[in-house]
Symmetry: C2
């Protein structure tokens, strides 16, 4: 029996921590990285290379990258909102850089303090830097389409806009695409429609989905993405993240629930749920005032969960019984 593999990328250390004011001490961040490695993640987004004056949380970015890249079998990504950030990330030795462009001018300005054209120019320069300093594409450049499913300022974003930005990123020569529902606007119909359109353009390039669960549709959107063939999802431990403007709203989809659902569906994440649950408890202790989300750790795994996995992965037509 062959199980489909799904890559789940833990982004809590970046997207989760970025809106948390309390500084998570560097040693605790490192311990969280250790948990990720031990649980079996193939990739983490470990930090963000942004000026400490904007987000002091990431003042230890280089140290976290050094710690994470020492782990075996762990791809270490970092968010780099501009060329300076990419320079620092490359110097720190990351395996992957995420550069981003937003669906609308207003969101790009609010989030990245520059125009979309400037962000695309940055991406071009980042790829040039990577090629100059790191030949043979040993560092992956991921191009992220932010707020791809809607913008909090401008509302609906047409698929056409996203596909045009995608074309720009592909022309620049990014190695991967990430499609981000940055503000939790996506619904499954839209995910299927837009992802199918994107996958028609991306050929063999890996395409990931970065979903937020702000409006409860997060895991349904994962299912919609799976149906289009996507096998690469970002998520955050405890659903950390969210939006500073909606304090009770959840953030990224919760890693624990995502991994549980995928495994229950008979897909293979390679992630050990018990270690994952322990990492949640560890981070909860370090961030006692930060709300954590998700269901599976409150409810517990179903009885006979391991056996259920095998059963579910047998196609119904071939099922014995």
């Amino acid at each position: 029996m062959v199980l489909d593999n799904v890559r789940v990328r833990e982004v809590g250390l970046r997207d989760g921590l970025q809106i948390i004011r309390a500084f998570l001490p560097t040693e605790h961040k490192k311990a969280w990285v250790d948990y990720c490695s031990k649980a079996g993640f193939q990739e983490i987004e470990a930090t963000s290379f942004v000026p400490a004056k904007y987000i002091p949380q990431f003042v230890d970015a280089a140290e976290i990258v050094a710690h994470a890249t020492a782990k075996p079998h762990l791809q270490v990504a970092a968010f780099t909102p501009n060329v300076k950030g990419a320079e620092l990330a490359l110097a720190a030795g990351v395996h992957k850089i995420t550069c981003v462009v937003s669906s609308t001018e207003s969101f790009n300005q609010a989030n990245l303090r520059r125009s979309r054209a400037d962000s695309l120019r940055d991406a071009k320069e980042i790829i040039r830097l990577r090629d100059a300093e790191h030949g043979n594409r040993s560092v992956v450049v991921q191009g992220a389409l932010s707020s791809a499913f809607g913008c909090p300022f401008e509302g609906i974003v047409s698929d056409k806009t996203i596909l045009e930005l995608l074309e720009e990123l592909l022309k620049l020569g990014v190695d991967e695409i990430s499609v981000a529902d940055t503000v939790g606007y996506a619904n499954p119909t839209q995910v299927r429609r837009l992802c199918r359109a994107i996958l028609r353009e991306t050929g063999d390039l890996p395409v990931g989905l970065h979903l937020h669960d702000t409006r409860g549709t997060g895991l349904a959107n994962v299912l919609a993405g799976l149906d289009t063939g996507i096998r690469y999802f970002d998520s955050s431990l405890g659903g950390l993240g969210g939006c500073p403007n909606a304090p009770r709203a959840t953030g990224n989809i919760t890693t624990e629930d995502l991994v549980y659902m995928l495994e229950a569906m008979g897909l293979n994440t390679g992630i050990d749920l018990e270690i994952l649950f322990k990492s949640r408890e560890f981070v909860r202790r370090q961030l006692p005032d930060v709300p954590m989300f998700g269901h599976i750790t409150d409810a517990g795994l179903p009885k006979d969960f391991q056996v259920a996995q095998s059963q579910d992965s047998i196609p119904s037509d071939k099922k014995a019984s």
Copy 2:
């Protein structure tokens, strides 16, 4: 443009209230029914005809049914765990009776205090009573398959078991089938597999899905059900319900999130979200100590949500853009 219609049945007044110890005064239950009617629900499960010594919450069952059946365009269902309950429900004038059989002996005993064979005999007698007292099938008998996706005592339940119980219910002559994930064990792969198998047997009979969001997969399971052709879902305002053994675990899927997702996907529920949100605030005020779940009321609707609906319902190939 034709939108698919989806029936969302509010079951908060039954499944939501049944584990809440605090008695919701009859006048507040009636006001909740009024909200349901005003919001545009086609159907509610209004109450349960169980002995008050077991669940005092439903001591006013007949009065609630009388109030609800006076509303225009509102189908009023009641849960009837046994023949006595069905007699009372018929006398009260319900439009629909739900009789239930569980996937396992142990769950049937725990939940209904009788064997599965006894529950099937009860269903037979309930149908006989309905036919005798209400010719022409003016009262619908829904046969519910409880814990169809797994049992908290016995773990995995084979599709074969469920299909055999389904056959029994169909032989008895039920008018509808409800497939219930009573303890929140279902995953999307399983929902698609089991629902497809069920729909192959049910012909033109309406089939509903009763899902719980205990493990975060509730709306993903809705999407899986939609994919099989199901257009009839139970849900509970504020996700009321849950399990007495898992106090932090959510209960039924949350009506607010479900209706939002369906409408965002371009499906037509006929339900007014703003009135629905008001009903949530009303019930929250009456039950201040009961946790309510769901995301959309915390996060708010996406900007330009109404317009987004129309856009999403246009198939991608025909999209003007």
